[in-house]
């Protein structure tokens, strides 16, 4: 017996004890009827080959370990970005349990969201009654100022009409006639979570803007897009805009509700864009979207109101942030603040200090399309080679933009972009064309294990490291943080590779 009250051991060490190891061996030998070890090894080696890669890339139906989620997840993200707003997802309730868990595992925060809990009878007769009762219950229990409705794939397949259902609910007195219930259809079988973000956001804007007269003013709107670092990024962009002295509105800001204190009170709602701000946002002279692919329909809609729209691709690093600031400056007519210029200089300073460690290093990265564009550009400017850039929810148009970045840099020469591919594709690539570092979300840890490539966690979701989402990766300051994360991993890898006493530790340098 290995367990001990003085020093309790859990799953990490307990199962390495001999009695357990023996038990595992016996279970396998006597009852699992597994393939022999040699067979397993043979197949494992085969999966590392070019031949396997070709078969793997020939897949037409199967998706394995994708780097994307479904639309309503993004819709919930968008909804919680508005003040005192309760997301309401029309359809099966299980989906909502999943969205709430998913966000809570990433942000380590509660995520409030309700479902209309449709079941088999609703599948036959439609979910109108679920909407009618659901809105009434939600409004009475959780007292939101607004309920933002989206749909699961069930409601979409049976063709429930949200607009009509909400109108009927109001007629039946579920919520007051003038109660705000913006909505968006968010079919899970179209696009991904970023599409859902886009649709839901557009739903809120059309709800408040449609039929209103626009009287342009000097203010600008900022839209961030679906973003795992939103908690850190939003305060950073506000700081930047404030340094400009710009008049601005952040449209959709969940950074406070996903960053509430532990002080004895549970805040179901906190922060977020208010209804007045949304209404006012119509009058802005321009809207700046940080992530174009995450806001395609929203920005298109905004442009129809007469506003100028600037949609960027998650600009980061030096040139990316330069571009961001120059756009803000142009749109607001205000000069770039000296304080930010100094931050730029400091980022340059850090890059100059460390670039020799990054120069020529090969990277593989995957994630949402805008983040990939921003990160690729940043890596290229560091002299790194983003050899494999992959996105499950990025299409051919996205790939062409990544290719353009490669083409514009000598470091992009041997680099490839992969649209609509998944992490099992990436696994093949990492074997046939190995890299030094991998950048992606938590699921990349399986690639780290299989392919031995160190993972730098960035994107969404990140479940197995805490609190990084609290810090920005935007602006010069945020880019500095990304730089440090990359450097840390490089140094860790270098140390790990030189740590063996009397064999490699001559290189285990005290100064790097």
């Amino acid at each position: 017996m290995s367990q001990n009250a003085d020093k309790v051991i859990d799953h990490e060490m307990l199962f390495r004890e001999p009695e357990y190891v023996e038990m595992f061996d016996n279970k396998k030998k006597n009852f699992e009827f597994a393939f022999p070890l040699e067979k397993m090894e043979e197949i494992r080696e085969w999966t590392k080959t070019r031949e396997y890669q070709d078969l793997n890339f020939a897949r037409e139906g199967l998706t394995v370990n994708p780097a994307k989620a479904c639309q309503p997840l993004g819709a919930v993200f968008a909804a919680v970005g508005f003040a005192k707003t309760l997301p309401f997802v029309h359809g099966s309730q299980g989906c909502v349990a999943y969205y709430r868990s998913h966000f809570s595992r990433h942000f380590k925060e509660p995520t409030s969201c309700v479902s209309s809990s449709m079941t088999e009878d609703a599948a036959v007769f439609g979910g109108l009654n679920n909407m009618v009762d659901g809105l009434a219950n939600a409004v009475n229990l959780y007292k939101p100022d607004m309920i933002a409705v989206s749909t699961t794939c069930m409601a979409e397949v049976i063709g429930d009409d949200l607009g009509a259902f909400i109108r009927t609910s109001k007629q039946k007195g579920s919520v007051a006639e003038d109660y705000d219930v913006p909505f968006a259809h968010t079919p899970a079988f179209v696009g991904s979570h970023i599409t859902g973000y886009d649709n839901a956001l557009k739903g809120v804007l059309t709800h408040f803007w449609e039929g209103r007269e626009r009287t342009p003013n000097e203010s600008i709107n900022f839209i961030g897009g679906f973003d795992g670092n939103v908690v850190g990024n939003m305060p950073e962009i506000r700081r930047i805009l404030s340094l400009f002295g710009a008049e601005y509105t952040v449209v959709c800001d969940p950074s406070e509700v996903w960053n509430t204190p532990t002080d004895g009170e549970f805040r179901m709602y906190d922060g977020g864009t208010t209804k007045d701000e949304v209404k006012q946002a119509l009058n802005a002279k321009a809207t700046l979207s940080f992530q174009a692919f995450s806001t395609e329909k929203t920005t298109k809609y905004i442009a129809t109101t007469g506003q100028e729209v600037v949609a960027l691709h998650h600009p980061m690093g030096v040139a990316g942030t330069d571009k961001l600031l120059m756009e803000i400056s142009r749109l607001t007519g205000k000069p770039i603040p000296a304080a930010l210029e100094k931050e730029r200089g400091r980022l340059m300073d850090a890059i100059a200090d460390s670039s020799s460690h990054i120069h020529g290093k090969k990277f593989a990265l995957y994630g949402d399309p805008d983040l990939m564009l921003g990160l690729t550009a940043f890596l290229l400017e560091l002299g790194a080679e983003p050899v494999h850039v992959l996105s499950t929810n990025g299409g051919e148009d996205w790939a062409a933009q990544v290719q353009a970045l490669f083409d514009a840099s000598p470091f992009g020469a041997g680099c490839h972009v992969y649209a609509k591919k998944d992490l099992w594709h990436m696994r093949s690539l990492l074997f046939t064309e190995p890299v030094d570092l991998l950048i992606g979300n938590t699921y990349g840890k399986y690639l780290e294990r299989d392919c031995g490539v160190p993972l730098i966690r960035m994107g969404f979701p990140i479940f197995d490291r805490h609190h990084h989402h609290r810090f920005p990766i935007w602006g010069y300051e945020g880019s500095l943080r990304v730089l440090v994360a990359i450097l840390d991993e490089i140094f860790e890898a270098l140390d790990a590779n030189t740590i063996d006493t009397a064999t490699t530790d001559y290189s285990y340098d005290i100064i790097r």
């Binding site: 367990q3 001990n4 003085d6 309790v8 859990d10 799953h11 307990l14 199962f15 357990y20 038990m23 279970k27 396998k28 699992e32 009827f33 397993m40 494992r44 793997n56 037409e60 199967l62 998706t63 370990n65 994708p66 989620a69 479904c70 639309q71 299980g94 989906c95 999943y98 709430r100 868990s101 595992r105 925060e109 509660p110 409030s112 309700v114 479902s115 809990s117 449709m118 079941t119 599948a123 009762d133 659901g134 009434a136 939600a138 229990l141 959780y142 794939c153 397949v157 079919p187 079988f189 991904s192 204190p261 532990t262 002080d263 004895g264 009170e265 099992w424 699921y443 399986y446 299989d450």
Partner: protein
């Protein structure tokens, strides 16, 4: 603070009345049936259960797909489980349940992978059967050591009229009788995960038992062969259970389904006794095996030394003296450990109160473990329990315990706020709500990334974790000193 039983009952009844006030009348009436104060001597908890959740109330429940893919089938490690439909469900349930297994993932085991048919609009419009066929072919090429395939239906499948049964049969034949199991666990079926368990159980009956070649994977039977049913090996629970059964002289021939394999499922009808941990999720198949193969089954509880001891004896009572002596030997062997654990932790936890809200088993099953540490469970409820669970609960709870079935966010928050327990045990969606309120919390589905909690080895971890939650210095600091 310390109320008499009668005072507690009055307080709890008032609390129920209070939480119901916030609902519209119709909903208040329906929710009232799910909330109660336990009266000693009653045969159940007198609450309605396993009925539809109200829309818009923030139920904690999941869906049938979660019950099938997430609970029953997902842990079978050497099969590939296709999340069939759009990308979401499979993505959110990917590797999140901590059902541990041993194997080379991606080669001969596939537990922590997400296989999805990633439905697009055209699959909805034209049907997904062709795509499913192609997917199975691709699985055969790319994952040649898979021992079988299951199709875990997501919401759209049942709505667009796909015939996944026909596809499965056809492909099984094509691959020489390979096990391919279509599961109709669409999320809109039933009212919670629970129907998903049932559907998944039935799928094992129809597509595994019915089709197994009895000469495949043979082994020499012994009179001491048992199967562990309804243990999902969260953080290694089934392992710290199995070791005790083996130490008492039994031979565990199958694990359902944590760290399980298709061969183990197939061979289970050879067991002399099925030992059932999670009654809720696997009573169906246990009953079936009893009817069909005459295998008796016995429920057991491996949380905390009191229940473990009773369970070991109960299991042993189905065997001869050799096993009965074995049970006593195991109990004696671990006595020093449990005494030391209790001696260390009980003084730190004595008298602390707990409120639970978990799935279909733990709302009752863990109560004994808390009591072994001197703690009291003052409120409990099931996400997806049925009336037979509430009947079983009466053997565990004390007079006056607050019972809440399918609790809503609103109710749970208010209950905890008023009762102010020393610990809440529930899921990830609830965790941060209560921690913000300054109440210590442990996740009781995933063991909060710890575990195992089953067995004697697990009890030590359980005790350590409850102590570290409750006696963490952080809870004394949540209020700023100038605000006190």
């Amino acid at each position: 603070m310390s109320l008499t039983v009668e005072e507690t009952k009055v307080r709890n009844k008032e609390l129920i009345d209070e939480v119901l006030k916030a609902y519209p009348e119709k909903s208040a009436k329906r929710r009232a049936k799910h909330l109660n104060v336990h009266e000693e001597g009653k045969s159940d908890c007198d609450v309605k259960s396993n009925i539809k959740s109200l829309p818009g109330v923030m139920t904690i429940r999941g869906c049938a797909y979660a019950g099938s893919k997430g609970v029953v089938w997902g842990p079978i490690k050497d099969m590939i489980h296709i999340s069939h439909g759009p990308v979401g469900c499979g993505q959110y349930s990917w590797a999140s349940r901590r059902n541990y297994y041993i194997g080379t993932t991606g080669i001969d085991t596939f537990g922590t992978m997400q296989f999805t048919s990633d439905f697009q609009e055209k699959d909805i419009v034209f049907g997904g059967d062709k795509k499913l066929e192609k997917i199975m072919d691709e699985i055969q090429i790319l994952f040649p050591l898979n021992k079988g395939i299951t199709v875990q239906s997501e919401c759209p499948i049942g709505l667009i009229g796909d015939d996944i049964e026909a596809v499965s049969k056809k492909k099984s034949k094509e691959y020489g009788g390979k096990t391919i199991v279509p599961v109709r666990c669409e999320g809109f079926r039933g009212v919670s995960q629970s129907l998903g368990h049932h559907i998944a159980n039935d799928a094992i009956r129809d597509w595994v038992f019915e089709k197994t070649d009895p000469d495949k994977n043979k082994f020499e039977a012994t009179p001491y062969d048992v199967a562990i049913i309804g243990d999902y090996n969260i953080g290694g629970d089934a392992w710290s259970s199995r070791i005790l059964l083996e130490e008492m002289g039994l031979r565990v021939i199958a694990q359902w389904s944590g760290d399980g394999t298709i061969a183990e499922l197939e061979n289970t009808p050879k067991a002399k006794l099925n030992v059932l941990h999670c009654y809720r999720s696997m009573n169906y198949i246990s009953r079936y095996m009893e009817e069909k193969y005459g295998i008796p089954w016995v429920e057991y509880n491996f949380f905390g030394p009191s229940k473990i001891e009773a369970s070991l004896r109960e299991i042993a009572s189905h065997f001869d003296d050799r096993i009965k002596e074995g049970a006593e030997r195991v109990i004696a062997k671990y006595k020093a450990l449990t005494d030391a654990v209790v001696a260390k932790y009980r003084p730190r936890l004595e008298g602390k109160t707990v409120m639970l809200f978990v799935g279909g088993l733990r709302p009752r099953h863990v109560i004994g473990a808390y009591e072994d540490l001197g703690m009291n469970v003052v409120g409990t409820g099931y996400e997806f329990g049925h009336n037979d669970d509430y009947q079983r609960t009466t053997h565990y709870v004390k007079d006056g315990t607050l019972i809440y079935d399918d609790v809503t966010g609103h109710e749970f928050e208010k209950f905890v706020e008023k009762i102010q327990p020393d610990l809440v045990g529930s899921g990830i969606k609830e965790k941060y709500v209560f921690q913000k309120m300054g109440v210590p919390f442990r996740q009781m589905h995933s063991w909060d990334y710890s575990g195992p909690y089953h067995g004697y080895d697990g009890f030590a971890i359980f005790a350590r974790d409850m102590d570290m939650a409750i006696n963490s210095p952080v809870w004394a600091l949540t209020k700023a000193p100038w605000k006190k």
